[in-house]
Symmetry: D2
Subunit: 293 residues, 4 copies
C-alpha cells in the first residue's frame, strides 16, 4: 500500500520554488547549479506569464548524491538568486509540514482529511484540530490528534482568535486548513498566516460568494453545484483559487441532495488543495495560483 513518504516524493529530495522577472538564462543557470552539485532533477515545472513579466519554477531533485549540505544551500544559492531577483524558498521532502484543521459542526471534511492522513495520502503532520463545537473531539482523538474546543461567541471572537493563535504557535503550525469552519476570521488573524490559510467554499466562486451558497444555488436553479478551495485573504471569498470542481444536479434534487452532493465535492477539492500545499506545488502570482502537479 502507498504511504505518504513514497507517494510523490523520493525518500530524500528537495524542492526549490522560484518566482522572478523573466530573463534569459534563469533555467540554464539553475539547472547548471544543480547539475554541478550532482543534483539529479526528478521533476521540473515552470510557467511564464509574458503579460506580467513573471517567471515561476518548481524543481525537485534527488539529494542522494547532492554535494551541498542543505543547511548551507542558501549561502550557495544566494548569488544566483540575487542575480535574477528571485523570491525563492526550498523545502525538504524529509520535513513534514505541520497543519492545523479548524472545523465547526459539520465534520465531513475533517473526517476525510484525517483518514487520508492516516492512510498516507498527505505527507504532513496533523498535530491539532480546533473547533467551535465540541462534537469533533471523538473523531480527532480516534485519529490521535489533539483537540481543542474554542467557542466563537459573537462578542468574544477576538479572545477566541487569540486562543487559537496561541495554540498554533505552541504546535509550530505551518499552515491552517478551514474544513468547513463556519466563522469569518479577522484580518488580524489572517495576517499571521498570509497565504497559509486554505478554505473550502461550498460554491463555484465567484458565484455565490458569502453565506448559504447551496441555498442560493438551489433558488437560482443551477444545473451544477461547485466547490472552491482558496487562500484566505482580507476580502471574503476573494483570495487566490487553488482548486475547483462541479457536479451535476437536477430539478429532482432537493436542497438536502444538493448539500450531500456538495459534501462529496468539498472533500475532494479541499484534499487536493491540501496535498498540493503539503507537496509545495502551489506558487502565487497576483491573485492567481500556479499548481505544478
Amino acid at each position: 500500500m502507498s504511504t505518504g513518504e513514497t507517494l510523490n516524493f523520493k525518500p530524500s529530495s528537495a524542492v526549490l520554488l522560484i518566482s522572478c522577472p523573466d530573463k534569459l538564462g534563469i533555467m540554464a543557470e539553475t539547472f547548471t547549479f544543480l547539475a554541478r552539485h550532482n543534483g539529479n532533477v526528478l521533476q521540473a515545472d515552470n510557467f511564464g506569464d509574458p503579460d506580467q513579466n513573471v517567471f515561476l519554477m518548481r524543481v525537485e531533485w534527488d539529494l542522494q548524491r547532492f554535494d551541498i549540505d542543505m543547511r548551507d544551500f542558501p549561502a550557495h544559492f544566494a548569488r544566483l538568486a540575487e542575480r535574477f531577483q528571485m523570491q525563492w524558498r526550498v523545502a525538504l521532502s524529509s520535513y513534514r509540514p505541520r497543519i492545523a484543521v479548524l472545523a465547526s459542526r459539520q465534520d465531513h471534511c475533517l473526517a476525510d482529511l484525517l483518514h487520508r492522513h492516516q492512510i498516507g495520502e498527505l505527507a504532513c503532520e496533523v498535530p491539532l484540530v480546533v473547533s467551535n463545537h465540541p462534537e469533533a473531539q471523538r473523531l480527532a482523538e480516534f485519529y490521535g490528534v489533539e483537540f481543542h474546543h474554542v467557542p466563537m461567541e459573537k462578542d468574544r471572537k477576538a479572545g477566541a482568535e487569540n486562543t487559537i493563535l496561541d495554540l498554533m504557535r505552541a504546535h509550530n503550525i505551518d499552515f491552517i486548513v478551514l474544513a468547513r469552519f463556519m466563522q469569518v476570521l479577522s484580518n488580524g488573524f489572517i495576517q499571521h498566516y498570509p497565504n497559509r490559510i486554505i478554505n473550502i467554499h461550498h460554491s463555484f466562486l465567484p458565484a455565490f460568494v458569502g453565506a448559504k451558497p447551496y441555498h442560493r444555488a438551489f433558488e437560482r436553479g443551477v444545473k451544477l453545484v461547485g466547490a472552491t478551495a482558496h487562500y484566505v485573504t482580507e476580502v471574503l471569498d476573494e483570495g487566490p483559487i487553488i482548486e475547483q470542481d462541479t457536479v451535476r444536479v437536477s430539478h429532482r434534487d432537493t436542497l438536502d441532495v444538493l448539500l450531500q452532493k456538495g459534501r462529496d465535492l468539498e472533500k475532494v477539492v479541499l484534499s487536493r488543495a491540501v496535498r498540493w500545499q503539503v507537496e509545495n506545488r502551489i506558487l502565487l502570482y497576483g491573485n492567481k495560483t500556479t499548481v505544478f502537479d
Copy 2:
C-alpha cells in the same frame, strides 16, 4: 444512421405538458383518460415541488391506436384540465417546430447547430438565420437556410429589431436561438417570444454575468470555465437556466485557450438546450426549469 424523426420520438406520438397545483388523482385521471382512448404511454415523467405546491408532468403516448382525433383533443381533455386547474399544451411529434438562429461574427455555435440539424439530431426546421454581420451567409446557404444580414447599429437598434420581428413572423418562427448573438435585445422584442428565446452565455452563471466573461474568468484565476444555456428574460443573464457545463482550465491556458475550450462547451450546452426545447422536454416553474430527458 439516425434521423431526427426516430431519435427520440416514435413516428407518430403526442406529448402532453401539464403544470398545476398538486392534488390527489392527477396522474390517475390523466393516465386513465389516455388508456380509455387507447393511448399507449411511451414515456412519462413528473415532478412535484411540495414547497411551491406545483405539479409538473410530461407524457408522451403512441397515436397509432389513439381514438381521439388530435384536432379534437382540447375539447376532450378540457374537463379534466379544468378540474385540476392545469396549464397545459400538447405537441405532435409530426410537427417540427420552426426555429430561427441569430448569430454574430463568431459562428461556431451556428455551424454546430446547422450540422446537427442536417444529420438529424434536431427534429425541427431551421428556416432562418439572421446575423448583424454578413460573414455567416455562406454557411447558412451551404446548409440551405435563408440568411438575412441585419446590422445592429447603436442608434438604429429599434428598427433592426423590427426588421427581425418581421422576418420571424414571415417564417412562422416558434422559438429563437441566440447562437453567440452579441447584442442585448430590448424588452419589447423579448415580450414577443416569452420563454421562447434561448441564449448561450459563455460562463457558469451566476458567475460572470454580462460582458467578456472569459476575460474576467481569466483575471479571477478560476480553475474551470463554464457555459450556460438559459431563457432570455428582461433582466440580463437572469432567466431560467436550462443547461450548464464546465471544463477544467489550468494556469498554462492563455485567454485564447480559454476561449477555445469555452467554444466546445458552448456548442454542446446550447445544442442540448435546443434539443430539449424541440422535443418539448422543458417545463418552467418560477425562475427554474424542469428538464424531462
Copy 3:
C-alpha cells in the same frame, strides 16, 4: 443538518417497484388504485424497453392518509398485479434495510460508508462489518458497529464463507456491500443473496476485468481511470452495472497517484450505489439496471 429520514423519504411513505410486460393501462390502473385509497404520489418514475417488451415503474406515495393498512397491501394489490403479470415489491420508508459491509485491508470505502451513515446520508442500519484482516476493528467500533474478523485462507474458504453466512443470518442482513473486499466469493455464497451483493470494482468495466486493474490501466497508458459499482453474479465482474465514474490522469501520475485518484472515485461511486439500493431506486432487467433517482 440533514438526517437519513428526511433526506429523500417523507416521514411516512411507501415505495412500490413494478416489473411487467408493457400493456395498455398499467399506469392508469396503478395510479387509480393509489388515488382511490388516498395515496398521494410523491414521486413516480417509469421506463419501458420496447425491444424487450418490459415496463418498469417506481412509485412513492404518502402514507399519511392512505387508507390501506400496509400489512394488507398485498391482498389489496394482488388482483391488479396478477392482471398485468407484475413482479412487484413494496417497501416502507419506516423500514431501514440492514446492510453488512465486507472489507479487507484497504479501509477507505469502509470509512467513507460508516461516516456517511453516521451523518444521515444513508437511510439504513449497518449492524455488521466483517473483514479478513483485523485492522478495521477499531474503525467499526468507533462507529458503533459490531466487527468480526474472518480470515479467508486459501484452503479454508468454504468454512469462512459459512461463518460469514451465519453472521448475515444472525443479523438479518438485507444486502451486502463489498467495500474493496479483495476475495472472490463462491457461487454458493452468492446464490444466498441474488442481486443483493454490491461490489466496487476499481476500473471502468468492462475494461480491466479481474485483478490489479489500476496496474493494467497504468501499463496501457489510459488518460482516465474509472470505478464501477455492480451487483455480484456468478461471472466475475460481469454483473449488472449500477454506477460508474471516471477521473482524468496524466502521464505524470505514478501508479500511487492512480491508486489515490481511484480511491476517491471508488468511495463516491460505491456510496451512490448503496444509497440507491437503500432507497429502493434500482430495478433490474436482463443484465442491466434502471436507476430511478
Copy 4:
C-alpha cells in the same frame, strides 16, 4: 478573434522534442545551449520515468534573438544530442504541418475539424480529404479542401490504399487523421506513417475494442460511454492512447442517444489529439504517450 498563429505559438518560435536515457545534466546543458545563443524559453516541460530510465522534454523558445540560423541547428546541436544519446527533432512554429483527413459516411468529425481549422484553432494545413463515400465532397469543397472519393471494396483494398498513398505523397502529407474512417488499414499502409496516423475509436479503450462499440456498450448497460484518440499501429485499437473522455448515459438513453452523445465526445477528443499533434506536444515512450499541454 484568435488565429492559429497566435493561439499557442509565438509568431516565431521553435520546439525541440527530446527523448533519451535519464542522466545528470540534460536540462542544464540544453538550457545553457539555448541561453548562450539568446534563445529565450517560452515554455518547457519534461517527464522522467525512473522505471524505464527514459527522459522526455519539450522546449519552446523565441527565435527573435536566437543567433543560430535554424537550418544550421542540427549541426550546432549535434554534439549535445550525441553526448546524451538523444532522439530529437525540432519544429518551427512557422511551419504548418500538412494533414489529410480520411472519412467515411458519418461526417461529424470531418465537419468539426474543418470548421476548427477555418476559425484558426488548428495551426496546420488541410490540403486533402479522402473518403470511401462520395457524400463528403460538398463539405470538403465548402471549406476549400481538395476531395477524393476512393471506394474501399473488399477485394480491391490494396489498390485503394495505393491510390490513397499516392495522394498523400502528392500532397506532402505529414500525418493522417482517421475521422470515423470505418475501414481497417493494412500494416503495409500503416508502416508508411508510423505513429503519424491518429484514429478516433468510439469507446473508452480498452473497453469495446473492435466493431460496433456503442452497440456493445448499450448491451452491457454501462453508465458512461467514452471515446479514445490513439495512434494506429498494427494491432487494432492497441496503439498508444493520446486522449480519452467519457459522458454519462442513463437507462433512458436509446442506442440512438448513445450514438449522439458519443458524437459529441468523438469530436472533442479527436480535435484535442489533432491539436496536440499539430503543436508538437506529444512524445511517445513504449506504448504510451506524454502530452505536454
